[in-house]
């Protein structure tokens, strides 16, 4: 908390524009006009912009750092971390569908030991916020990863992945029922003082009840949602297109689906929601915010251009200026169900 407080009282130094309110960097012109405040708060965690890099597209920050200014995003969510290193699932791991991407990666990651020794020290060098995605195949796995990373320091929040559709045990198994999801949160909550987010799966009948169960056990926020279980078949060989048979569908194709999921969750719980699903433009992000999201994550769209998150941030600033909004708070959850006059 002290870190955030310190930051908010930092004088507006132009040379550190990418760290503080991004509006500063676009302050030219419109003399004296109020600058929009893009920062958002999620359980005490202040993010300079509401645009995060979703888990799995930013790797561990290092690879992407070559082409993206990571300090223009509110936070990076790391590739999901499991206690042991994982090689991932057999290829092919990717298949593109109309406006969508199916993946079956299988939580390939460096494992806890490699993460603490090599990745975390690198991540700490970025000024952006680091959200560590925690995965596992048993409650013990989740506990071990979270407690170890928490003890090492450097993370600003955790996102619990109870929704990976591409591993046999664990993952989605925990996210598919309200009681199992609650059990994970109950076990992890006492282990950290940092914000605890839960990334939900959309592959359930009632996502609102899973969200409510997580919040009642102390989750600080919810990421809505992971990918949709999907299948593609090669008609020539009559084999599945992916080595792991089914995969998770992401990309613009799922935006309307996840928009509905976010609406279901924000209608049910008060906790902040980070929307994730097919966001590739500022309009996409703003729609999610109107439906009730506090922040958004960009995933698949980064593969088309790694400048996407930055363009979304710029687009949000332009929209706020156009509509004389001083903060995103004024926009959040303002979808009106009444018919237009």
């Amino acid at each position: 908390m002290s870190r955030q407080r310190r930051e908010s009282t930092t004088p507006a130094q132009g040379r550190r524009g990418s760290r503080g309110r991004p509006a500063r960097s676009v302050s030219a012109g419109a003399g004296g006009a109020r600058l929009p405040d893009l920062s958002v708060r999620i359980a005490g965690l202040r993010l300079s912009t509401p645009v995060l890099l979703a888990s799995g597209v930013a790797g561990y920050g290092e690879e992407m750092g070559e082409v993206v200014d990571l300090n223009r995003v509110g936070a990076i969510v790391t590739k999901t971390l499991t206690p042991e290193e994982r090689a991932g699932n057999p290829p092919p791991r990717l298949f593109e569908t109309p406006a969508g991407l199916m993946n079956n990666i299988g939580l390939a990651n460096v494992g806890l030991e490699g993460f603490l020794a090599e990745v975390l020290p690198q991540l700490k060098r970025h000024r952006t916020r680091i959200v560590v995605s925690v995965g596992g195949f048993s409650l013990r796995d989740y506990e071990k990863v979270l407690a170890s990373v928490d003890a090492a320091g450097g993370a600003h929040a955790f996102e619990i992945n109870v929704s990976c559709p591409n591993v046999r045990a664990g993952g989605i198994h925990f996210g598919c029922s309200a009681s199992r999801a609650a059990r994970v949160v109950r076990a992890l909550r006492p282990l950290t003082a940092l914000p605890l987010l839960v990334k939900l799966t959309p592959n359930v009948t009632d996502i609102g009840s899973v969200a409510a169960a997580c919040v009642s056990e102390g989750a600080d926020g919810l990421t809505v949602a992971n990918t949709y279980t999907a299948l593609a078949v090669d008609l020539r060989t009559r084999r599945p297109r992916l080595g792991g048979v089914t995969g998770g569908l992401s990309g613009p194709a799922v935006k309307p689906l996840s928009l509905a999921k976010v609406w279901e969750v924000t209608s049910r719980v008060k906790a902040p929601v980070i929307a994730c699903g097919g966001i590739s433009t500022a309009e996409d992000a703003l729609e999610y915010i109107v439906v009730g999201a506090t922040a958004v994550q960009v995933g698949t769209a980064c593969f088309r251009s790694f400048k996407t998150p930055e363009l979304i941030v710029n687009g949000i600033i332009a929209y706020m200026k156009e509509n004389s909004l001083s903060s995103l708070q004024e926009l959040r959850g303002t979808m009106t169900l009444a018919p237009a006059e």
């Binding site: 690879e63 992407m64 991932g88 593969f303």
Partner: protein
């Protein structure tokens, strides 16, 4: 022949080093840039040569770029393409592609002035023969090893780039380059005029151009004149270090090339393909199986691999 005897342990030690080495990519870090179409020339019914104007750090032979269509146009993802030629001073980047899928068909309709999103240069390049020859060149009186480039179908592009660089190397220090190009039929041998090598050999499955054989059959028929393993080159009095094989083409062809390299004890480097999303090693999507049940990412640890590292039973191409 003393050098022959020591060759085996040297090779395996080199292989071990490579297998354990971290994925170091030589060359400049990639940039994301806008590439403008200068020319998009049809070479045959489905083969095209794309000349792009783009400000990109110098690419090396074997490296690739990701190309994507701008703003909302399908397909969603960028696609990887081998670099066929790159002149940073002219901002000229050449790509050879076949209009086979939805993405490349859209690409084939682009006209001068159209813009593409580009990420590159990416991946690991082909090492030069002198760097990988079994016996260091200085042991052989300074003669550089023979480079044997084996291209199947659409696989010619990166090897054309390789041959071009070798030709322009200082005083021909890269050594002689044999270029073997194979295709199903003569109409598919679209880039022959762009191949600049010491010698060029051609094969077609139907015999409509060059030798009627596969490109691997062609390779086998050429070995011995000179002997690739011994490097005894024709009229030359001094011996060359053994040849280094380079391959790019369909999965089956590369598998055969590897078997051949193994049987002759020759180092062999191949360019692999996989479906790819990010190009930077973040999404873990383009994994191929290596020996020892290990996965490697084609975009980061490849696309060029030493063929002895690849689990060929598992490799199916993109």
């Amino acid at each position: 022949m003393k050098p022959r005897k020591t060759a085996v342990p040297q090779t395996s030690a080199r292989r071990r080093r490579r297998a354990d080495a971290p994925s170091v990519v030589a060359g400049a870090p990639p940039v994301e840039a806008v590439a403008e179409v200068r020319r998009n020339t049809a070479l045959s019914a489905d083969a095209f040569l794309l000349d792009l104007m783009v400000d990109m750090p110098a690419a090396l032979p074997g490296q690739f770029v990701m190309l994507g269509l701008p703003d909302g146009a399908a397909p969603l993802l960028r696609r990887p393409f081998s670099v066929m030629g790159h002149d940073p001073s002219r901002k000229s980047l050449e790509i050879h592609y076949s209009a086979r899928g939805a993405g490349t068909r859209v690409l084939s309709e682009l006209r001068p002035g159209h813009k593409l999103g580009l990420l590159g240069p990416l991946g690991r390049h082909f090492p030069q023969a002198a760097e990988v020859a079994r016996r260091p060149a200085d042991l052989e009186g300074g003669l550089a090893p023979l480079s044997v480039l084996v291209a199947g179908g659409r696989g010619t592009a990166p090897l054309i780039f390789f041959a071009e660089r070798a030709r322009r190397s200082v005083g021909g220090s890269s050594g002689p380059v044999l270029f073997l190009a194979g295709a199903r039929t003569a109409a598919q041998l679209v880039l022959l005029d762009r191949i600049h090598a010491t010698e060029v050999f051609v094969s077609t499955d139907d015999g409509s151009a060059g030798k009627k054989d596969t490109v691997i059959g062609l390779l086998k028929s050429l070995d011995g004149q000179p002997d690739f393993a011994l490097g005894a080159a024709g009229r030359e009095t001094r011996r060359r270090p053994g040849a280094v094989l380079y391959g790019c083409g369909p999965a089956g062809m590369l598998r055969e090339l590897h078997s051949y390299a193994e049987s002759r004890g020759l180092p062999c480097f191949v360019s692999l393909e996989a479906r790819m999303a990010c190009g930077l090693g973040v999404c873990q999507g383009c994994a191929v199986r290596l020996t020892g049940s290990r996965y490697a990412l084609v975009c980061k640890e490849g696309p060029v691999f030493e063929s002895c590292l690849v689990d060929w039973a598992q490799y199916e191409g993109a």
